[in-house]
Symmetry: C2
């Protein structure tokens, strides 16, 4: 397997490694910045008691009947359209669990994020918030979003995101132990935690339906997805192989079920990107095993499922939040070269 | 009072009314698009039971201790910086209750919103989500956000936002009655409702603190605020008169308390913008009365508090969501001319 990864890596990423610094300070000529909500449905809620509410100090109280019809389960996407895109189709960026599209904006330590990188590389870029997260809104009724949301503590991600060992977290920043050579900007960890939002763990079906609606509305496109978003991207391609032109899955945490028809993805190149410290981490090894089986199934069906394994490229220290790591532009540049090699640019 | 409004309107808005169409189709030269979270604090939560959670299908279950430290009460702002801004300082856009910064993006019927208008007019623009809304995140613990959030039904805004009479709402779109000549794009009402998010009514203090932190971090600036955001803008100026260079309040729903020192605003021009159908609406007349008293206090202290009253300008039919109305660009152009007249442009 490792040899295969290396061979594919040599194929796709061996282009001369031009430093991205020059291009990444250029101004952008923009046609339009905008957003849309897509998908969802109208749901009726009844049986709740009336409320009397003062919405702003000084405003008269308003008697509110909280029952009625509600827009629920939609999702939000913000787009930046270039005056002269080089990419053949727009790039949709989708975040992981407990986060929002902010994942791809300015990094927690203040550097331009992947939204800017891929805009400067010539893509029209959509940054999305999954159903129930961020600007998508969340319907506050258990009939819509079942169960209780979970909300990440400041320390939970330290080991799950492979910034440091499981016993390396400490509430006191000076006492935290990261992996030697980690590329996550650890001094900005607390700032990163400000990006977190509650998430339900019962709502994959609704999140997927909203992504599918987005694909129908704004694609053809390339989907770049992260962590929990990985499976939403894989499945969006299965559900609309005529619309999704490629899937780039950054540390995907899930895969389609064994019943999924990988042959539908024969013409849709896939790239999976991994950071460091997966060997020796049972949780991530199991996830990666699932993803590699999914990639094997795509290849067995005649499709393309490449891997960009940063340690195999000789780059150590990348975390799960690779788009925020100090070498985020370098990783993006490798992904960009893969897109060039796969014919996704003009 | 009406005479005074008209006189001020004549002063500020009488510049030849150049149609904004030409400028509003131009491409934009952008230096950077990015975002930040500001403000908030670290809060400790304890005493909650452990949970075992499968976060993605196929992923192994993770045992989660939901207790710990959390980043709470921060807020989100997204910025677009022009290569060559004409405005002297950035423009911060703040939304109203139950909504997010999406208020200023593409209108529900698909036209460019005020974010694009003011970018094209030469402003660096920040679009903000209030604490607890949108990408700011919301801490799901009652110790942080007290009480239950409220969530707007599809019909609630129909009369409160003055699109139609109180008895004009109907779940069936064809049966809805709007005011004759309303400028809200009523066919896009259901789409507009997708922009809604739950809101608490107990959190003004925390929302204000986050805006104040934003002002300290990114200003000097001009604040353009809507509805519930109105009072946050007024108060932000009171709290940082050295940072806020002007306040433009679109249909503000609240005002600072009578104890507030309006003399601090002597050098900070204020503009209040009103739509139609306020006469005859007791709720909005009472709000407007409060706002006019606040404007009187600013003027009594030697400051500037102008009013742009659209019906007084001869334009009928504007709703509370004036930045989404079909003449949104015309209203924005009048606000832009006020900013020119008040010396806020280079």
């Amino acid at each position: 397997m490792m040899r295969r990864i290396l061979a594919l890596a040599a194929l796709a990423f061996a282009a001369p490694h031009a430093p991205p610094a020059a291009a990444q300070t250029e101004t952008l000529l923009i046609r339009e910045i905008g957003s849309l909500h897509v998908g969802g449905r109208i749901a009726g809620i009844s049986g709740l008691p009336e409320q009397e509410i003062v919405f702003s100090p000084g405003a008269p109280p308003i008697r509110i009947n909280p029952n009625g019809q509600f827009q629920v389960e939609q999702m939000y996407a913000q787009y930046v359209r270039l005056a002269n895109p080089r990419a053949r189709v727009p790039l949709i960026l989708a975040h992981g669990g407990g986060l929002t599209g902010v994942t791809y904006e300015t990094t927690p330590d203040g550097r331009p994020g992947w939204q800017m990188f891929f805009l400067r590389a010539g893509h029209d870029v959509f940054v999305t918030d999954a159903m129930e997260r961020g600007r998508s809104g969340w319907a506050r009724f258990p009939q819509i979003l079942a169960g209780e949301p979970v909300f990440r503590t400041m320390g939970e991600g330290w080991s799950i995101f492979r910034v440091g060992p499981a016993d390396g977290w400490n509430a006191a920043a000076a006492e935290r132990r990261a992996f030697d050579g980690t590329r996550f900007p650890v001094a900005a960890w607390d700032q990163f935690m400000k990006q977190g939002v509650p998430r339900w763990v019962t709502t994959d079906r609704q999140i997927q339906a909203a992504y599918d609606a987005l694909v129908q509305q704004v694609c053809p496109c390339v989907m770049l997805v992260h962590s929990q978003g990985g499976n939403f991207g894989f499945t969006a391609a299965l559900n609309a192989p005529d619309k999704v032109r490629a899937v780039i899955a950054i540390e995907p945490s899930g895969t389609p079920p064994d019943t999924a028809d990988a042959a539908r993805l024969r013409d849709i190149p896939h790239l999976v990107v991994w950071g460091d410290h997966i060997a020796g981490n049972a949780f991530w090894q199991r996830i990666r095993g699932n993803v590699e089986r999914w990639q094997d199934r795509i290849r067995a069906a005649g499709g393309t499922a490449d891997t960009l394994d940063m340690p195999a490229e000789g780059v150590r220290g990348n975390s799960h939040m690779i788009m925020m790591d100090t070498n985020s532009d370098d990783v993006a540049a490798r992904i960009q070269r893969w897109m060039e090699a796969r014919g996704l640019m003009r």
